[in-house]
Symmetry: C2
Amino acid sequence: MNEQLLLENIRGVLIRLEDTIIFSLLERAQFRQNAVVYARGAMQGIPAGDSLMGYVLHETEKVHARIRRYTSPDEAPFYDDLPEPVLPPLNYSDCPIHPNQVNLTSGLREVYEERIVPHICDEGDDGQYGSSCVCDCACLQDMARRIHTGKFVAESKLRADPDRFLPLVRGRNVQGLMTAITDTTVEARVLQRVFRKAGAYVSDLAGESLRPKLSPERVADVFSRWLIPMTKHVEVQYLLERGDGLE
Amino acid sequence: MNEQLLLENIRGVLIRLEDTIIFSLLERAQFRQNAVVYARGAMQGIPAGDSLMGYVLHETEKVHARIRRYTSPDEAPFYDDLPEPVLPPLNYSDCPIHPNQVNLTSGLREVYEERIVPHICDEGDDGQYGSSCVCDCACLQDMARRIHTGKFVAESKLRADPDRFLPLVRGRNVQGLMTAITDTTVEARVLQRVFRKAGAYVSDLAGESLRPKLSPERVADVFSRWLIPMTKHVEVQYLLERGDGLE
């Protein structure tokens, strides 16, 4: 795949994922924070050491692992003890990124539980634990895909300007790489677009006098404070791990 | 709960579910029909007698059953061999509907696989089986909730006009009940709203030059041809099963 096509492809995937994430956040925000679902050991009947949300996420990942979700190079699971796929493997030999182990899901889960949920949901407990957890899994899985798509973004940036990137990779210059991958114009455009789309969805709901609990500002905050920085973190980690090969 | 409150609540739930369903359909329509995922026994590695999609749906329902999803009176599972909840039961004594066994999921699944998927997805096979199936599960679960919310709609209609409904229930007058629950003005309003919302979502995607494969007309068709009639079918079945009690 040539670089221009790669970049356009990734751009399409990221824009599409914005909608998915915005919608998942709006769904989760129907329910209160329900902090107990994130507390390890707090819920009777759940395996010791995990929370109710973790249990649902773990079980969901087991199902998805069996249909080979995590063999896809843009996926990264939250759990590392998943079963083997029951389906035959797909051929990813056309995949433009290098093999790598970059997986920032544990940080994402922590940020989600401790920062994002309190930012998007009303305080308190409404007893809707199962529904909250199902929404949480969707949010986390969508966000994980978004940030790990950073691997493709990084690869395309490196290929577009190897003279700039390869010395930084060779020197393991984290700060230099962060500066090189940062495009503040693109970031501002993402935030404007997210704000606009979230506003359109919310006003559609509000127009029917339903509780529009989640403001477009807060949706955009999720991207500016957490998702964009974590995506960039994936980009830098990926570049450091892939090394300076250019085939 | 008084009748007016009940009706307003249900209306809010249904409008909210419209958005969820529209979004699930748009997500599924990213992929081709991939008919092989619905063919029983076609996929190596999947338990004999079920399709890949059925496998994913079944396994997902097992996870959700353990967190008591199907103890909720607005839920109806597609499979009847699900495990018991690991969480303690919730108290649904305030639930306004009567205990009942109405479950139209097998008809919904058939209609979805044979009519709805071909209506919303491009023909052919893109190999994205796992992603298609995950989207299918979301579509089916969201649609199942929508049609079974008909139980609440029917209960509120009966309570609002018992003099009209109770003789029809006593006489098991299916045609009379169908006429009594039908409100063509409300149906037209639902379709207009779905059309408008689907148009807004699709144009948001199209504005970014992404493939807007699914037209607002086709989304509205899903409601007019299948979801609204199935919801009304649930309403009538529920009324026949609940009987003529008025507590």
